[in-house]
């Protein structure tokens, strides 16, 4: 692994320079001049971060919205999303094994393509995660209201946003003050969710295929034509954002050369299959029109359709857990991405201060939690999801470009344990597909996304124009 890391120099407007030290990476620790950083996340932990972040959105929030837009062909939209995610996950895996550091995509791009691209991606990723977290929280709010309804307390959808805000604030505070290790809990939640889904999808799949239960009249596969399949793919891509979160903890993964690619590619494959089957099963159960009417929590009715009240309850419970774990995992990734840019002097370095009492990065968590609450208050599920996807897709496209740039002229330190199969076709397709998907979003989402990128570029020119991060290419 890279024992001569990329150079970094220059200072920002406050006179801070990037804090980069030579390190030696082993499978178990990162060794710096005076200290060692233990790698403590195994393959299971990595998969739990990836799957745990993704599963909440794709299964528990999107089926109703997606079926409304594309009909049963929404399954194809999810499949397209999975293919795009896979085309990016492979190059991202190669870069992550070459640079197993905190910061993920931002780190690869700043070292591969230079500071401007890095700053735009790093700061946009912060906002992208903030949008994604707000989206998960709104989804959580819908499930919380439905849970109350299942328990016989009808409160109406008016309480969705207040509940989401309350829990968003709660997560932020818990992350600042909580020193209990929630990683094991997260693993357990993901395992439980997967079991609920396998039982439910197994039964539903048999039913949909006409083996058990009453036969239902098949619906036209793509009632609205092919364009909605693509626009829906752009919308639901938010349910594939989690694999890159695995790369944000790359610095803490054990045996990163093996575990990073397995966790990233594996989590995309697992959730991709689950998403496609879920859409297939739920459109067969209720028909896409009915799903669209039911909206964010349509899956609860699908559960009721197959397994009665117990099914509905299992889905409501699963939805609560899943959206919660997605939101929580993204808050953690957000604070890590803020740390990564502030370490490189693209944000004031006090943003990555750790408080003495809890040992947590309270400033970065606050910079994540504050904007999350503002966005959650808007309650715009589709817009939040699309802007999050927009900002991530820019990063994904640039990850592929960074890989090509590094491969064309490999620096000495570039020695990945995992190399993309099918180079250069995979990264080229990955970049094209990522940028193309952006083209199918609503104009409002595209405008907000471009505006955020312009602001981040402006920040770079104002604040950190003299910082050089590009590796020795």
């Amino acid at each position: 692994m890279g024992d001569t890391p990329p150079s970094a120099e220059g200072t920002n407007i406050e006179g801070e320079s990037p804090q980069v030290e030579p390190t030696i990476e082993t499978d178990e620790a990162t060794i710096t001049d005076d200290a060692e950083l233990e790698r403590t996340i195994g393959l299971t932990g990595g998969l739990a971060i990836g799957i745990g972040t993704m599963i909440g959105a794709g299964i528990f929030v999107f089926p109703g919205l997606a079926a409304g837009n594309a009909g049963p062909a929404a399954a194809a939209s999810f499949a397209i999303g999975a293919v795009v995610a896979l085309l990016v996950a492979l190059p991202a895996s190669e870069l992550a094994t070459a640079m197993p550091k905190s910061g993920g995509g931002y780190y690869f791009i700043s070292r591969g393509l230079g500071t401007l691209a890095g700053a735009v991606v790093g700061l946009s990723l912060w906002f992208g995660l903030v949008f994604a977290t707000a989206f998960y929280l709104v989804g959580f709010g819908f499930y919380a209201v439905d849970t109350l309804a299942e328990l016989g307390i009808a409160v109406g959808n008016g309480l969705v946003i207040p509940i989401a805000l309350l829990f968003g604030a709660g997560f932020t505070v818990l992350n600042v003050t909580g020193t209990e290790n929630a990683a094991k809990l997260q693993n357990g939640i993901v395992a439980l969710l997967l079991s609920i889904l396998v039982v439910f999808l197994g039964y539903g799949g048999l039913d949909a295929a006409g083996i058990v239960g009453e036969p239902s009249a098949p619906e036209q596969f793509a009632p609205f034509g092919t364009l909605p399949i693509l626009t829906t793919a752009a919308l639901v891509f938010t349910s594939y954002l989690g694999f890159a979160q695995v790369a944000t903890v790359a610095g803490e993964m054990k045996d990163p050369g093996r575990n990073l690619p397995l966790a990233m590619v594996g989590s995309v494959l697992v959730v991709g299959v689950l998403y496609v089957v879920t859409i297939f099963v739920s459109t067969s159960a209720l028909g896409s029109e009915r799903l669209a009417e039911l909206g964010e929590t349509a899956m609860v009715e699908v559960g009721r359709h197959y397994l009665g009240a117990a099914g509905a309850f299992a889905i409501v419970f699963g939805g609560l857990l899943a959206t919660m774990s997605s939101a929580n995992a993204s808050v953690l990734s957000t604070s890590r991405s803020i740390y990564a840019v502030s370490r490189d002097a693209l944000l004031p370095q006090r943003a990555s201060r750790i408080n003495l009492r809890y040992g947590t990065p309270h400033v970065a968590l606050g910079m994540a939690g504050g904007p999350i609450l503002v966005l959650t208050a808007t309650g715009q599920v589709q817009l939040l999801a699309e802007v999050a996807s927009f900002l991530h897709l820019i990063m994904y496209g640039l990850i592929c470009v960074a890989l090509i740039a590094l491969r064309r002229n490999e620096p000495d330190w570039y020695d990945p344990d995992f190399r993309v199969p099918g180079y250069p076709i995979v990264p080229v397709l990955g970049a094209l597909a990522s940028f193309a998907l952006i083209g199918f979003m609503q104009p409002a989402s595209q405008l907000i996304g471009v505006a955020i990128m312009l602001v981040t570029a402006g920040w770079y020119f104002y604040y950190a124009r003299d910082v050089t991060l590009k590796g020795k290419l």
Partner: protein, 249 residues
């Protein structure tokens, strides 16, 4: 010479008592300064902020253990998982023994527990090396249900130590709860030497026996590591990672 690992939560102000420093003087010592972080915090982020302060403290501690004579050094680790760090550093430094630092004055009496399935030979030879020609009394302690066999193995160990010129007593606890008996016996001793046992259901539920003894006896506990564990972790380090094979794509 046997190397002893002394793990200290360095940024939480954990330190070693003068009595322990003196006791470990003849041995090689690695002071392991560690800082456990919640998962919200990347270890590297904590390093940037705390490294200097921790290194200063560790340099002083290592000097007390004889860094200038070359018998002591230190490592600084930021981690999410204390146990994993201990095991890795112990294996890397080939430390056969680790210390749980407690409070004690000068150590005059050492309690050596031989209870259970522990490597008696290694414990005995470590005690011989540790005490050397110093005037430290050794009490060999064993809790068992089988009085006869217990007495025999205590006597055998006592003879070995006696032949090396140590002052040895033996104490046998029959049909008593082993842990409580050990803690009782520890009251008139300044430090405890015991063997590490393989993890069991009991230790998963109640915590490691060694840590419970340390918590209840207050004084320092020297734990002779379970060498089978150590071998496994060394193998794990040397095993070629599967990713080396995946390079040919």
């Amino acid at each position: 010479m046997t190397r002893i690992l002394v793990p200290l939560a360095i940024l939480e102000g954990e330190s070693v008592s003068a009595g322990l420093t003196t006791l470990l003087e003849p041995m090689n010592v690695t002071v392991l300064g560690y800082h456990v972080l919640p998962e919200q915090t990347p270890p590297d982020q904590a390093r940037l902020q705390f490294e200097e302060r921790a290194t200063d403290a560790l340099e002083d501690l290592a000097a007390e253990f004889g860094a200038d004579e070359g018998t002591a050094d230190y490592r600084l680790v930021f981690t999410h998982d204390r146990k994993q760090t201990f095991d890795r550093v112990a294996a890397e430094t080939a430390s056969d023994v680790y210390a749980i630092p407690g409070a004690t004055g000068p150590v005059e009496n050492l309690l050596v527990a031989l209870t259970g399935d522990v490597a008696v030979d290694r414990i005995v030879s470590f005690v011989t090396e540790l005490v050397g020609d110093r005037d430290i009394g050794v009490t060999l302690f064993l809790a068992t249900d089988d009085e006869h066999a217990g007495r025999e193995s205590l006597e055998a160990a006592a003879v070995t130590l006696f032949d090396e010129g140590l002052h040895v007593r033996t104490e046998l606890a029959v049909d008593e709860p082993p842990l409580e008996a050990l803690v009782d016996a520890a009251t008139d001793h300044d430090a405890i030497v015991m063997g590490e046992r393989a993890p069991s259901l009991r230790s998963l539920i109640f915590g490691e026996e060694t840590e419970r003894v340390a918590a209840e006896s207050v004084g320092p506990v020297l734990v002779v590591r379970n060498i089978e564990d150590a071998d496994e972790s060394v193998e794990a380090t040397e095993r070629p990672s599967p990713s080396d094979v995946a390079d040919d794509s």
